[in-house]
Amino acid sequence: MLTYLLLTLALLSAAGYYLGRHRAFAVANGQLRNLHSLPGFYGSYTALWCGLPALIVLAIWMVLQPGMIVDWVVAGMPPELRDLPPDRLNLMVNDLKNLVSGNIVSSTPNAAILEAANHYRNLQTIGNAALWVVVLTLSMAGIAIGWRKISPTLRARNRVEQVVNVLLIASSTIAIFTTIGIVLSVLFESIRFFQKVPISEFLFGLQWSPQTALRADQIGSSGAFGAVPLFTGTLLISGIAMLVAVPIGLMSALYLSEYATPRFRATAKPALEVLAGIPTVVYGFFAALTVAPLIRDLGSALGFQVASESAMAAGLVMGIMIIPFVSSLSDDVINAVPQSMRDGSYALGATKSETIKRVLLPAALPGIVGSILLAVSRAIGETMIVVMAAGLSANLTANPLAAVTTVTVQIVTLLTGDQEFDSAKTLAAFALGLMLFTVTLILNIIALQVVRKYREQYE
């Protein structure tokens, strides 16, 4: 229905454009230089009058209508239904909505509910019809206003450009709203979580077992929300990843920028960057089905006890994923070191590797540290590889052959599947999300700052 309304609106706006343009020609008596703006601007002016108010009303209407209909339906119900406690009432309203849209309902509807559903359906039909009438009237009226206003002295271009300018500014604020949205959504749920579980227990507790009880007398019913095992698990896996990614990434960047011929560089660099383009779910599949069994077999052949979901497998594959980040970021950094510093070193008789080790690396160190920090934040926030290849059990261990779990794995397991929105279990995911967001944000800010300082040094 909405699609048709939007299409109609678009058609009307197109008509408005045509009419406005036509009108501009008419008021100018064929002498275009009498007009303030080009005729197209008069057309756009009318089209904006036609479309914009109607769209705004449409948006507000779409937001308000469902809630208002529910209110009216509830108000029209018999009192014994109306006075149910809020959560029961919510459940009933959900049932009602399902009934109206023809889905399966949880309970067999009684007469009162059926009555209410009818009421709901009626109100919905009326509301939709009213919406059509209002929107179409508004857009017609808009065309009429635009038409009336057009005269040779109307500053149509300036008006249209003002509107466009506002639209540009509005879209540029989306980024800010997104950040605010992230912070607020994670923060609110976290605060609710910290009302149930003290923040000190969350940050310093050593036990993580977030199951919630079905019955009061169940064993382990309280649920333990000490996140330290998750933090150590995340650090362990990220640490293994960095052990793989930093040497390989850094050495490839050095070789590519200092030794390689242009032709070799032109083929090897994009080939290496293919690693960055592969979806993480593919790495996860590779880690879980190929690398993990390989490591387990290798370990048992050497006489080690290796868990089938070892931290090693996830960390190794994550390291492979991060290689191109480290290499392309450090490549930029190394290239930013002025050639004169290399030339000075060569002039003193140093070999290439001596120049790299004693001149290039110390000069580029802040930038390289910055790029490694960015890679670490990437490793901490990586989800799919660990969800597929790391375990679920929260072990507090530094053994890379044992199974550990990470913050992102727990967020996913807590939030997929059945959930109720008030349990500590679900809210815990948001608290973990808050931690993740804060830590990666701090890492990113530091890294960007370091890199920027470093760039300025050589500019």
Partner: protein, 438 residues
């Protein structure tokens, strides 16, 4: 190299520099060569990982593009399909076609007796065979009463055995297929009644619990709808933001704030966007779970920074002389941007957008948060239908233990990677073709 030994120090004056340098030269050159080798080894390790992963996935996945079929003699028995003989479409639709399949199997192996034996025999053919027969009869009611040799989908275990992925030497209890079944399959193979055909179900079917009936059509459509929303939202907004920040925005705190925000959003872990989508779009605005609409909204917020950053780079590469010329001819600022700067920057912006879309196509973590992980059999038909996307389908299949699903997961990954290659290739072509050096 600058560690002169104590005994050598007094000699310094007598030996000339050349001998001192020459003495260390061999060691230094060896170090140089070693260092060079480290670099080469690092790069070859990186490239080896690429090759290993692709090789691994392709070798696992390509058999999934073929599927085993069994040829059965089917008698379209009128007493089963249409007992009343009215050719009533409803009766034809609800007839017991599985009975025809079973009869066909019994015809092939008349010696098989007993409940368990017969059940093992029936297990050779997929439950999809009955639907296949039904659709054939509905399409052509003249089949009723005739006998035909029909190729029907074999079950997944048969498929796995025929592809050689079950070890026949294992003990009967340790493999998913019994000795008598292996015997029947060998007999069928010997008489040419088992054949591998191109697997169309993989591309036309929705998800299923039976590996041989599972396809990626539903996931592909889900990905398509999700990316459609992502593109429709993020591209115009990204372009508008880039234009505003590059061409119109005054340099002040507010625009600085916007810029810092964009750079930070580009580095926020994707799963956090999923939390945002869950809290804001689903719980606050009450949009349906698992809908491509919500997935598209979340992914467009994620893609926006990529498009903005690429768009700004494209805009700065347009030389100022173009702008000055346009303004000099009396164009307004908006006309200057709209008529001259934006068209010149468009290839760069599109390249950025395509790369952003390719990344969105491979993204799965935030979609797990908003419920796009459900087991959905139907192919989604709109933006509000419950759906899943290709990477999430891969994630779901990767969890399933059957060997046939491992194969299909790899095949789905190959399809996903093919799309990625296609999109990135398009971006490269676009860049090569339209990039202008000023």
């Amino acid at each position: 190299m600058n560690k002169p030994s104590d005994s050598a120090a007094p000699d310094f004056r007598n030996r000339d520099i050349k001998t001192i340098v020459n003495a260390g030269l061999k060691r230094r050159h060896a170090a140089e060569r070693r260092f060079r080798w480290y670099g080469l080894i690092a790069i070859s390790l990186g490239l080896a990982f690429v090759a290993l992963m692709f090789g691994n996935i392709i070798s696992k996945g390509y058999p999934a593009f073929w599927q085993t079929y069994v040829q059965l003699p089917i008698r379209f028995d009128p007493t089963v399909i249409d007992p009343e003989g009215h050719h009533d479409p409803k009766a034809i639709e609800s007839a017991d076609y599985a009975a025809l399949v079973r009869a066909g199997l019994r015809d092939l192996f008349p010696a098989v007796q007993g409940r368990t034996e017969l059940r093992a025999l029936y297990d050779l053919v997929s439950s999809d065979a009955a639907y296949e027969l039904r659709s054939r009869v509905i399409a052509n009611p003249a089949l009723i009463g005739t006998s035909q040799e029909v190729w029907l989908l074999a079950s997944a275990t048969v498929d796995t055995l025929v592809k050689g992925n079950i070890d026949r030497t294992l003990d009967e209890t340790e493999r998913p297929i019994k000795d008598n079944q292996v015997g029947w399959i060998d007999k069928l193979q010997a008489s040419g009644k088992i054949e591998k055909q191109f697997n169309t179900i993989l591309f036309t079917g929705g998800d299923s619990r039976e590996p041989e009936q599972a396809g990626i059509r539903g996931a592909l459509m889900g990905s398509f709808y999700t990316l459609l929303i992502t593109f429709l939202l993020s591209f115009p907004m990204g372009v508008a933001t880039a234009v505003y920040l590059e061409e119109f925005a005054p340099k002040n705190r507010w625009t600085d704030l916007i810029e810092v925000n964009i750079n930070n959003l580009a580095a926020v872990p994707s799963i956090v966007f999923g939390l945002l989508g869950l809290a804001v779009f689903i719980n606050f605005f009450g949009l349906p779970r698992s809908a491509p609409l919500v997935g598209g909204l979340v992914l467009s917020l994620m893609t926006l920074p990529v498009i903005i950053i690429a768009g700004r780079a494209a805009l700065t590469s347009v030389p100022p002389s173009i702008r000055e010329a346009a303004l000099g001819m009396g164009a307004s600022k908006l006309q200057m941007v709209g008529h001259h700067v934006l068209p010149l920057a468009m290839p760069g912006m599109l390249t950025g957008a395509i790369i952003g879309m390719a990344r969105a196509l491979g993204e799965s973590a935030p979609l797990l948060m908003i419920g796009m992980v459900a087991f959905i059999v139907d192919v989604p038909k709109g933006l509000m239908d419950p759906a899943t996307v290709l990477p999430v389908q891969i994630y779901l299949w990767a969890d399933l233990p059957e060997r046939a699903f491992v194969e299909r997961t790899s095949a789905a990954i190959m399809v996903l990677l093919a799309f990625m290659v296609l999109m990135n290739g398009l971006a490269i072509i676009l860049r090569k073709r339209f990039e202008r050096r000023w």
